[in-house]
Amino acid sequence: MSRLIRGEFAKLFATRLPLWSLVIAACCGGGLTGLLALVGPENATPPLPGLDTAEGVGIVVGMSGLLLFVPALIGTIAVTGEYRHRTIGTTFLTAPRRGRVLAAKLLVFGALGIAYGLVASLFAGTAVMVGAALQGVELGVQLGALAALLGRLALAAAVYMILGVAIGALARHQLLAVGIVLGYFYFLEHVLMIIPGVNVIHPYLPGGATAALTDFTFLSDAIAEQLPLAAAATTSPFVGALVLLGYAAVAAWVAIAIPLRRDLR
C-alpha cells in the first residue's frame, strides 16, 4: 500500500498540478476575500457588516467557501485525466488491485486538498487582516477564532477534493464529471435550497454542511429575505463537519468499490 501511495505521489508530482493547485488556492483564498476586505464589506451593495464585527469577518471569510467547487474540480479533472489520456491502463497493469489504487489516490488527493485548504486559508486570513489594517479598524474576532474558522475551511477544501476525486472515478468521462460537479454546486444545490419542503434537507447536503461548518448562512439568509420561505436551517459546525466527512467516506467507498468490476476499454 505504501508503494502505491508513493507511486501516486510520484505521478502527481510528475505534472504541474500541485503547483497550479496551490496557485489557484492562493487566488481563491486571497482573491474574493481580499477584494471584499479591501473594498470594505460595508461598501458592498447591499452593505454588509464591517470587518470590525464578528459577523462581517465571518461573511468575508465564508465567501471563499463559495469557491469550494474549485478543489472538487481539481480532484475531478486529475482523476478523469487518467481515463482521458488513457494512463489508467498503465496504472491498473502496474497495480491490478484497483481498490488499493483508488484508496491510494484518495489519500494522496486528501493530502493535496489539505495543502490547498491551508494555502487558501492562509491567503484569506492574511487578506482579512490586511483589509482591516488598511481601513484602520480592529478585526471583529480574536486571532484564535479566525484561525479556527480558517482551519474549518481548510478541512472543507480537503473533503471537497476527495468528493471531486470520487465523482471523477465514478464518471470517468472528464466533461461529464466536470458537468456533474459544476451542475451540482452551482445549480442543483441552490435549487434544492429554495424548493419549499425539500429545503429542509439542505443542512445535510454538502453545501449546507459546509455552511454549518463555516457558520456561513449568508446565502440562505439572503434567500429567506427574497422569498417567502423560512431560511434553511443550518446545523452546528460539529454536525456540519460530520456530515461532510460522511459524504467523503461514502464517496470514497463507492469510488473504491465500483471500478473494481468495470472493464477497461
Partner: protein
C-alpha cells in the same frame, strides 16, 4: 555435501519454491495459457471459446483482421477486462494475482499510455515507483528502447513511434519474463519495425515469452515462431508458423482462406 544450485533446484519442492528467483523462472520460462476464454460486449460475441498457448523462448504472433477480438483477448489476459468464461494464466497464475505483475509481464497496449503533460522521465519514474522497481531502471529501459535523448521531453510532444517506444520502455521497467504487445508496430517506421522485431527476437532468445498481436500479416511473417489466428472471436488456427506455411499455399492465401470462410469450415481446419 552437494547443494542444489538454484539453476537445477526443482521449483516443485517446497524449499526451493521459497528461494525461486526470477532468473529461475526465466530458465524454466513463464508460459501464457489461454483456455476457453469468452466475452460478450454489447450483445456481440467479441471472443468465443479462445484457447492457445504462448511458449517461453518463442515469439507468438496473434493475427486476425480488425475487430476479430485480439485486443479483448489481451485485455482479459491482463486483467483489464473480466472474461465471461474461461481462464487466462501467466505462469499458471491469473494476472491480478501475480505477486509482482510488472516484474512478470510487460504490456504494450493502446489503452496504457503516458500522460501528455509528463516528461518521459517523469512517466517512467512514476510507474517504476508504482510498480516497486528501482529508479535506476528508468535510464536502463530508455537505453534499451532508444529514447535516452528524449527523456526530458513531454510525452505529448512525442510522435506515434516515440510513444510506442515509451510504452515499451514502461513495459520493461520490471525486467519482465513475458512481453504482451497489442499492435506494437502501429506508427513505427520501417526501420522501427525492424528494430522491434530484432528486439523481440533477442528477448525470446533469452528464454522469455513474447505474444504480439497484429492485423498485418506481412509484419509477423519474419518475426514469429508460432502463430495464433483469430477471426470473429474464434481461434481458427494455432501452431508453429512453419507448419502453417507448409499447408502448400502462401501465407497470405492461407490467412485469407481461414478468415473468410464460414465458421463451419473453420472448425474443420482448427488445429
Amino acid at each position: 555435501m552437494i547443494t542444489a544450485s538454484s539453476d537445477t533446484a526443482s521449483p516443485q519442492t517446497a524449499g526451493a519454491r521459497r528461494t525461486t528467483t526470477r532468473r529461475d523462472r526465466a530458465m524454466s520460462g513463464v508460459p501464457i495459457e489461454v483456455a476457453g476464454l469468452a466475452k460478450r460486449i454489447s450483445g456481440v460475441d467479441a471472443v468465443r471459446d479462445a484457447s492457445f498457448v504462448a511458449a517461453p523462448g518463442r515469439v507468438t504472433g496473434f493475427l486476425g483482421p480488425n475487430g476479430a477480438g485480439k485486443s479483448t483477448t489481451l485485455r482479459m489476459l491482463l486483467g483489464l477486462t473480466r472474461p465471461d468464461a474461461g481462464t487466462a494464466l501467466i505462469g499458471g497464475i491469473r494476472y491480478q494475482e501475480l505477486p509482482d505483475p510488472t516484474g512478470t509481464v510487460g504490456a504494450v497496449l493502446d489503452i496504457a499510455a503516458a500522460h501528455p503533460a509528463m516528461t518521459a522521465r517523469g512517466h517512467l519514474r512514476s510507474f517504476a515507483a508504482l510498480g516497486g522497481h528501482d529508479a535506476a531502471r528508468v535510464e536502463r529501459v530508455a537505453e534499451l528502447t532508444g529514447i535516452s535523448e528524449y527523456l526530458d521531453r513531454r510525452a505529448g510532444t512525442f510522435s506515434t513511434g516515440m510513444r510506442q517506444r515509451l510504452s515499451l520502455a514502461t513495459a520493461l521497467l520490471g525486467d519482465p519474463d513475458v512481453l504482451v504487445l497489442d499492435e506494437p508496430s502501429n506508427g513505427l517506421d520501417p526501420a522501427g519495425i525492424v528494430w522491434l522485431r530484432t528486439f523481440l527476437r533477442e528477448f525470446a532468445a533469452s528464454g522469455r515469452t513474447v505474444l504480439l498481436s497484429s492485423h498485418v500479416l506481412t509484419e509477423l511473417q519474419h518475426g514469429i515462431d508460432d502463430l495464433v489466428l483469430i477471426d470473429r472471436g474464434r481461434v481458427t488456427w494455432s501452431g508453429p508458423l512453419a507448419s502453417f506455411t507448409d499447408r502448400g499455399t502462401s501465407l497470405e492465401a492461407a490467412f485469407l482462406e481461414l478468415t473468410s470462410t464460414a465458421a463451419s469450415d473453420i472448425e474443420g481446419v482448427r488445429a
